[in-house]
Symmetry: C2
Subunit: 133 residues, 2 copies
């Protein structure tokens, strides 16, 4: 059992976005999120090789503004519904606040990717990028 | 910039599977992976409330057998192709080895979920569960 061992995430880059506060954020990327830049740290840039404009990627982020102690919440904005577990929701508040985003590569930059759409705050740490199969 | 700050993952449970070694694993879940149990630790079980049989979920795991120093590799098993960056592949070897899996809930258990299919080794730590929207 690995229940009590912990692991360390080292962000590989950061989101640059016009979304500056939680009030600016749509609930999901397909609800009007803007494009954003994934600025990748120099030591990880060679991991981008082979990614091309037009490819769909999953982007995993660390939702640094989340409350990790929340285990149940109201579904979306429906405060009159019964509470449900956070594993049944996409709320950022959860034990390990990893954000999942799917976006298209708009441009490959020297030090990262421009993608669209991305519902992540400016300054959000980027944890991983994977191609959509 | 959050480039050099690190974050701690605390697994919420563990995979119980008949897949006992990397040799048993198909490359992707849709290539014949078995069902598996996500055994959730008592302190996180209330986060499962609202998940039901038949729902599709994303499961994030920590690929504990991965090599985190690998930044480029051969695509799939094609050792004669040029190397590409790990962000352009689904290789478990990557800076932050978070596994992404999509599966259907076969049964809701008292202390977890039975899901199908799951291409994760027995003993793999479970990091997060999110509903597919």
């Amino acid at each position: 059992m690995h229940m009590f061992e912990t692991f360390t995430i080292s962000p590989v880059g950061v989101v640059e976005s016009t979304l500056q506060s939680l009030d600016d954020c749509p609930l999901q990327g397909h609800e009007g999120a803007p494009e954003a830049i994934l600025r990748i740290s120099p030591q990880y840039q060679q991991a981008l090789k082979g990614l091309e404009k037009g490819r769909s990627v999953m982007i995993l982020t660390w939702l640094h503004a989340a409350n990790r102690s929340v285990l149940q919440c109201y579904p979306r904005k429906e405060v009159h519904a019964p509470v449900i577990g956070v594993f049944a929701t996409r709320s950022p508040d959860r034990p390990n606040p990893i954000g999942y985003h799917q976006a298209v590569i708009v441009e490959v930059l020297e030090d990262g990717l421009k993608v669209h759409p991305l519902e992540a705050l400016n300054g959000t740490p980027v944890v991983d990028i994977k191609p959509v199969i």
